[in-house]
Symmetry: C2
């Protein structure tokens, strides 16, 4: 019996392509003491992965050429050397990697830890989206960093993405007014259906500043930025006094070297508005995961949170799914379901 | 008896010049009920004034063409209709304006209030620098927003300026390691003499990034930015994890419209470092003025704070002093002493 893995073929210069990875067959791994062997059921595609395959390095160890691509997943335990885990248990971890079978060490600290998945609570793949890392990202970015007040305008880029859809809904629970930026009318219509009160299609807008002013007539109190780039610049120009900005992602510019990322320096706006900007890496906040997931699950049970997935079928489609997500081709959280 | 005033002649496009203002003679003003009449002894030159003469507007009401130029001063009471003030009292206020005689309303809220100056504590003009608004700016920017820890590297642009010299010395009192950026070796040598532990001359540096790395080998934990522009970009590239940035001033780029202020978008660095950036307007912190000035005065009595002034003589030199300050020609806090 063999395992299939996607290995990093080369560090991309510019956008990743389906040639960025290559598939190999390797022997089935064996769990050591205290470890579990899992069969992968779902794999998650997330923009943070782009940083992990950069040659330049990032905030944590990336993937070496020839190494198994990193990524989170949900699977089923098929062998256990750990007293707390039994065959058949459902498991979520950031430490799956792009492979059909993985050996996990459930007790590792932080994001490498393995978490049990309660299939009675939600579909198992929710542990990769609203009941997992993207949900926690939205939760801490909004509630720990931006702290919206009732009546605040909360502007969200990539609003229908895995993080953005949660930001909008949690902002609504805070009594704030979420405004969506997205790449199509379909996405904006759906954002409206989950609680966003206005929306801007940045692909068809001919004057992003004017459209933002119309959608945010009292200015932007919270800007939750998942894209960076020209959308960031346009949003910064609309900040209200004492605005809070969360820099969560920069998918619009992540394929270019940071030193080429040139645009508006926001210093005038920062002084005039006394705004604050916070860089966010969700892995700093893993200690809040249990508490945040309990809150989100409760909101879901109360019918206050919905979520949209975009599922491709088949392990062989992982590179395709990655490219699709990076170009905004997905509508909702990008997942791959293994056969 | 007449008063002399400098009026705004035109909103400058680009740098202000000595033709930006024109002098007029007007009748001596008379104090109304609850007001005092003061003779101006010292006038303060501060970079925030550039925002007040922009046509585009700013965070507060600016100066209209034909209006008396705004600015803080120190004077002596020559007539009083206020029970709390007597002829001969020394007074400081942001509400002097560029004029030889001013009518003040001592009980106005915030920065327009008039404060008694204790000439036993320090030379009266200290109320315009280290015992006044620039001192409060350094105090709240560093201690309320940046909050340095012992051992932190605190990088300060315009380090020998009115705010910068206080930031460096207060950082030192916190057990932090202040590093200066300034425009000449003279200024850097003096910065060293007051506690800065390293310095970079941005005018002679051929590789600001390399010089910053050498001066801040563990990265920049706090960046107190008084200049903006290319210095800002170079400093942002050196931020350490969880760095705090205070955007206090942007004198390097303040003469150009904000929408032309193009440079590095710091989003990658913000995410990698989880840094935070705070825009600072000192007038938001006026409620801390008494407490901050008491602390600073105590540090001064203990010999822990020194201060350098750059004094021009004569009311007629106000425009010259302003242009000098904006171009970095001053060495220390720019003041004008009236005859």
């Amino acid at each position: 019996m063999t395992n299939r893995q996607w290995l990093l073929a080369a560090h991309p210069t510019g956008p990743a392509t389906t040639d960025t990875w290559r598939m190999v067959e390797t022997p089935m791994p064996e769990p050591g003491p205290g470890q579990i062997l899992v069969r992968t059921l779902w794999l998650s595609l997330d923009p943070y992965m782009r940083g992990r395959i950069s040659a330049a390095g990032n905030y944590t160890q990336g993937v070496a050429v020839g190494g198994v691509m990193q990524g989170g997943g949900v699977g089923a335990v098929i062998a256990s050397n750990h007293p707390g885990w039994a065959v058949g248990d459902l498991v979520e971890s950031m430490a799956f990697g792009w492979q059909e079978y993985a050996v996990l060490s459930p007790d590792l600290p932080g994001a490498a830890r393995a978490n049990k998945v309660d299939a009675g609570l939600a579909p198992p793949q929710a542990a990769l989206s609203w009941l997992g890392m993207p949900g926690l990202t939205a939760y801490v970015g909004l509630l720990e960093l931006a702290r919206p007040k009732p009546g605040d305008t909360v502007l969200v880029s990539a609003a229908s993405g895995a993080v953005g859809q949660m930001v909008g809904q949690i902002a609504k629970l805070c009594g704030a007014r979420p405004v969506a930026i997205a790449s199509s009318q379909d996405k904006l219509d759906w954002c409206r259906s989950i609680g966003y009160e206005a929306g801007i299609n940045y692909r068809t807008s001919t004057d992003l500043g004017a459209d933002l002013r119309a959608a945010c007539p009292d200015g932007v109190n919270v800007f939750f930025d998942n894209t960076g780039g020209p959308i960031h610049d346009a949003a910064m120009a609309q900040l209200a006094t004492h605005a809070r900005v969360v820099i969560c992602g920069r998918i619009a510019v992540v394929d270019q070297p940071p030193e080429q990322d040139i645009g508006l320096r926001a210093s005038a706006r920062m002084i005039v508005t006394r705004a604050s900007i916070h860089g966010l890496v969700v892995f700093d906040w893993w200690h809040l995961r249990e508490a945040a997931m309990a809150r989100i699950a409760a909101w879901h049970r109360a019918g206050q949170i919905t979520f949209r997935e975009d599922v491709l079928e088949g392990f062989e489609r992982m590179p395709e799914a990655f490219v699709r997500m990076m170009s905004g081709g997905n509508f909702g959280k990008q997942l791959v379901r293994l056969a």
